[in-house]
């Protein structure tokens, strides 16, 4: 495309990168304790016997300014969606709208106790009720539970329901079919339910094949767990045939909805024969990733699974909303209270801001952006399944590996160019995988810059492989030794303080 700009042109800046010790290494300031009512508390009035009381609490006493400066500096070491392009495949790192944050911090939501009287929480229940029906509409399902704390918890919930469903029929089934391209949480969730995982190989086009499913289907298969589009970013073209086949054998179909950003508004998995599907609100529905949570994983189910949904459930009776627990076939409670309400508020706000057309446009743009990257890079990076993809595209490091440059090295070198790396080494069925998901949030200009960076790295792999293998060079820290960390784990700060208060101990 354009001519080759030197790497220094790109967005990676060094600038004011502060060093900052651990909070436990800061100089303590006892006078900085935040006062409550300006009265000293001696504890002498406590009528609790001494032996119940702790003798010391070894955490630092600091001023507000010390704390603010400390965590502000830490935050500046993070790359985030707010900082730049974050094309992690399967994570959907789209922009997190600020209005969502404002809505979630409204006092009427943030300072509301879950056990407050029913008449005091009607606004919260109304939001949950409406969100349930919006998500049911988007996925084509009958009922939705908002309880699960994340996708993995939704999978556990769904598989517990699958188990209950078959037991209710008097035919407890022990096996679950899972494609070899599945996310690790899928088999892990099944194992927690006592299911035996049977792996299904993907065909030469990267898809689930009816033949391979059929060969493994029997009366002991409780369910097929699939992802659509799958983790290669490809739409499962045989899905209608497959779901029908599983149903004929008496099994259920669970869809991992991590990739719903490729379908929302365009098609619904509920129309494809799926019986259960979870949604990741922190992916498709713009709630923030938070550095690793909190997320939320609502689960949608078809009518025949409704009786098994967790409790409590939100019902509307006349004009009022109620929380009800009297569902004898329910699998029970899967977490305390009702789910990640604060996250639900954000997703609800997002959906209202988009409307049906906005949701569809986002999906179209996400798919266009992913295909743009595929076409722009296919001459330099190997694309194992080089055809129309959905919202993400999987490349491999095959072309670079012949110069001794691996996916990990490419990922680290991208940091020098000012981009967060894509997902690497997943899905497992592609050796040296690089999964790139741009999302709809990115402009053509950003994508073009990313393409240039990737093309430059491909050249470096050929001409200066050592530069790529020893990357990153421009980040605060060089490549970190993960092997050493695991060999002798140090998982907390030691109790003794070093002499100097602001330098990092050697």
């Amino acid at each position: 495309m354009t001519n080759q700009e030197p790497p220094e042109f790109f967005e990676a800046e060094q600038g004011l990168i502060f060093r900052e010790p651990l909070v436990f290494e800061l100089e303590e300031r006892k006078e900085g304790r935040i006062p409550f009512r300006n009265e000293a508390v001696s504890g002498a009035e406590l009528d609790i016997p001494e032996e119940f009381l702790r003798q010391d609490l070894p955490i630092p006493q600091l001023t507000e300014q010390q704390v603010v400066r400390h965590y502000t500096r830490l935050s500046q070491w993070n790359f985030s969606v707010d900082t730049g392009f974050y094309p992690l495949g399967s994570c959907t790192m789209k922009y997190n709208p600020r209005v969502n944050e404002e809505a979630a911090s409204l006092e009427g939501f943030a300072s509301l106790h879950p056990y407050a009287p029913e008449e005091a929480v009607q606004g919260a229940l109304a939001l949950m009720y409406e969100l349930e029906s919006m998500l049911a509409e988007i996925t084509g399902m009958h009922r939705v539970t908002l309880h699960p704390a994340a996708g993995a918890q939704a999978e556990l919930t769904g598989m517990l329901m699958v188990r209950a469903y078959h037991r209710e029929l008097g035919t407890p089934r022990k096996k679950v079919l899972i494609p070899d391209s599945a996310h690790g949480t899928n088999p892990a969730s099944c194992a927690l339910c006592g299911f035996q995982v049977v792996q299904v190989p993907s065909d030469e086009r990267g898809l689930l094949s009816p033949r391979e499913i059929s060969a493994r289907l029997d009366q002991d298969v409780a369910a097929l767990m699939l992802t659509n589009p799958n983790t290669l970013g490809l739409f499962e073209e045989h899905i209608l045939e497959i779901t029908e086949m599983v149903h004929r054998a008496g099994g259920l179909v669970y869809c991992d909805g991590a990739n719903l950003n490729a379908l929302s508004g365009v098609a619904r998995v509920g129309d494809m024969g799926v019986d259960l599907v979870h949604m990741n609100l922190h992916k498709t529905f713009s709630t923030p990733h938070g550095g690793g949570g909190p997320g939320a994983g609502p689960l949608g189910v078809k009518a025949h699974l409704e009786p098994f949904l967790p409790v409590p459930r939100v019902s509307k009776i006349g004009d009022n909303f109620k929380l009800q627990v009297d569902f004898p076939k329910s699998i029970g409670r899967i977490k305390a209270f009702y789910g990640h309400f604060g996250i639900l508020v954000r997703a609800y706000t997002y959906l209202l801001s988009q409307g049906p057309k906005g949701l569809k446009e986002a999906t179209c743009k996400a798919v266009l952006n992913a295909n743009y990257l595929r076409v722009a890079l296919r001459d330099l990076y190997h694309v194992p399944y080089d055809r129309l993809c959905k919202h993400e595209c999987v490349f491999s490091d095959r072309n670079q590996a012949r110069f001794g440059v691996q996916a990990l090295d490419i990922a680290k070198r991208l940091m020098d160019y000012g981009f967060h790396p894509p997902t690497i080494y997943f899905p497992l069925i592609v050796k040296g995988a690089l999964m790139i998901e741009p999302t709809e949030s990115e402009t053509p200009e950003t994508l073009a810059k990313f393409v240039e960076a990737m093309r430059s790295i491909a050249r470096e792999a050929k001409d200066e492989p050592e530069k790529v293998r020893s990357a990153p060079h421009l980040t605060k820290l060089g490549r970190l030794d993960e092997v050493a960390a695991a060999r002798r784990p140090v998982l907390k700060a030691p109790r003794t303080k070093p002499p100097s208060s602001h330098g990092e101990p050697s």
């Binding site: 507000e64 965590y71 919260a124 892990a188 209270f337």
Partner: protein
């Protein structure tokens, strides 16, 4: 594409052309036509930002949050003050729009903060190693029991005090159901304490773990001798002692589980810097001894260094986790509660030991004052001997009726315990925090006086 201005439209058309599609429709050509949506979804919106805030504001105003009432509810979710500085720091985009720190060179902010969090949990709970969070206290307890099962294969009995939060016990049953465990739940005694003799009698060589909560669901600070004997009993059969702390502000004052014989600590971090938020997101804490590290679920952050020897932090010991071990993982957990863990870390940094002790003492003082005032009212019976910041009142009039009357007077009263267990009918669980002033208690007593007349 009606929402895009013309120049954007041209850029999009160029991109479509570049990928060899003549329209957006063509980008979905492999989806079977019979499932392609022909119409827009039936969804509300789009709303402009001011309309959004008006709509959400109106929904929020149909709720009664704690600042608008005299608030006396606890029972697993607590009305403590969250510092402005805590809120403003976790709202930094570099923290909340970042992903899980799989690429450590770009995530040292999150990683160092999580390392600090792990350290804070260990110091608070008196334990040796903590993970980087679980969803909440209830699921953390379920994970702790699964962990005990892995450490004690072949055993299938769990002894659990009935003074552990009922929702926690319910969640544990749901999540562990496939294992077919035998749960022995011991009803609390008449003063809302764990019945230690019955607990000890239930522990057999087939018991994998013993679970208690301290302070318990009813606010009782459990008896030290009882705890000690229970610990000896479970350890004699080489089982594990799991101690749960839900009101974790109590750790500013009371002896921590690590000094009371706990092998696994389970906690709820919400009281330490998270808003109540109608029940979530909250924060599960899990910590244990070094010896059990490899069976502990959840993410772990470890210290490391780069090629120049500079200190840094990385996710470590991932071979326990789902993305490596899949069906043989210790847990299926992927996304956890990182931002909530950050909030607790920041809040603890702001509080320090003096601030946290003060919160604990003030919460307890308020509860004690309320307890003493209510004990003077005709017909109110309070059998507890030793409480933290919650207590149970046996009421002459059904708690539900009291709550109805109090609500009219701007007071959200305590929890009607009958809602959890018919055997607890006529009992009312009240909670106070540092935010309950003497004036609040006067209002409560006045209101109750009117209602009981």
């Amino acid at each position: 594409m009606g929402l895009y201005p013309d120049e954007k439209k041209q850029a999009l058309e160029r991109m479509l052309d570049f990928v060899g599609a003549s329209s957006f429709e063509e980008l979905f050509r492999e989806i079977p036509h019979q499932v392609r949506l022909r119409e827009d979804l039936n969804l509300p919106g789009p709303l402009k930002e001011w309309e959004l805030l008006a709509r959400l504001g109106s929904m929020a105003s149909r709720n009664l949050p704690s600042p608008q009432v005299v608030h006396l509810l606890g029972a697993g979710c607590y009305n403590h003050h969250v510092f402005s500085a805590t809120k403003s720091l976790i709202r930094r985009g570099e923290f909340f729009t970042a992903y899980t720190p799989y690429q450590p060179e770009l995530s040292q902010g999150t990683l160092q903060a999580m390392f600090e969090f792990q350290t804070y949990v260990c110091r608070l709970a008196g334990m040796e190693v903590a993970n980087a969070s679980m969803y909440d206290g209830a699921t953390a307890l379920a994970e702790a029991i699964l962990m005990a099962q892995r450490l004690k294969p072949g055993r299938n009995r769990v002894v659990i005090s009935g003074a552990v939060h009922p929702e926690y016990r319910a969640v544990v049953r749901t999540i562990t159901e496939p294992l077919g465990l035998e749960f022995i739940e011991i009803e609390p005694d008449s003063s809302w304490e764990t019945h230690w003799e019955k607990v000890e009698a239930s522990v057999t060589s087939n018991t994998s773990c013993l679970v208690i909560q301290n302070p318990n669901f009813f606010g009782t600070i459990e008896d030290l001798e009882g705890l000690q004997r229970a610990g000896e009993t479970i350890h004699k059969v080489e089982g594990l002692f799991i101690q749960v702390v839900v009101e974790t502000t109590s750790l500013g004052l009371l002896k921590p589980p690590g000094e009371l014989g706990a092998d696994i600590f389970v906690g709820e971090g919400q009281p330490l810097g998270l808003p109540m938020s109608f029940g979530g997101p909250h924060l599960g804490l899990l910590a244990t001894k070094e010896a059990f590290l490899r069976q502990m679920p959840g993410r772990l952050v470890g210290q490391s260094h780069d090629s120049k020897g500079k200190r840094g932090f990385v996710l470590t010991l991932s071979t326990r986790e789902q993305h490596i071990r899949r069906e043989r993982a210790t847990s299926n957990i992927c996304t956890n509660q990182a931002l909530c863990a950050l909030a607790m870390t920041v809040q603890l940094a702001l509080l320090g030991p003096l601030g946290l002790k003060e919160i604990a003492v003030r919460s307890r003082e308020a509860a004690r004052a309320a307890m003493e005032a209510l004990a003077k009212l005709q017909g109110m019976i309070i059998p507890q001997r030793r409480i933290y910041n919650e207590f149970v009142v046996q009421t002459p009039v059904p708690p539900a009726r009291l709550n109805g009357e109090l609500l009219k007077r701007g007071i959200i009263g305590g929890l009607d315990l009958e809602s959890f267990n018919p055997a607890w009918k006529g009992n009312w669980l009240l909670c106070c925090t540092e935010k309950n002033s003497p004036e609040d208690i006067r209002k409560l007593v006045l209101a109750l006086g009117e209602v009981l007349r």
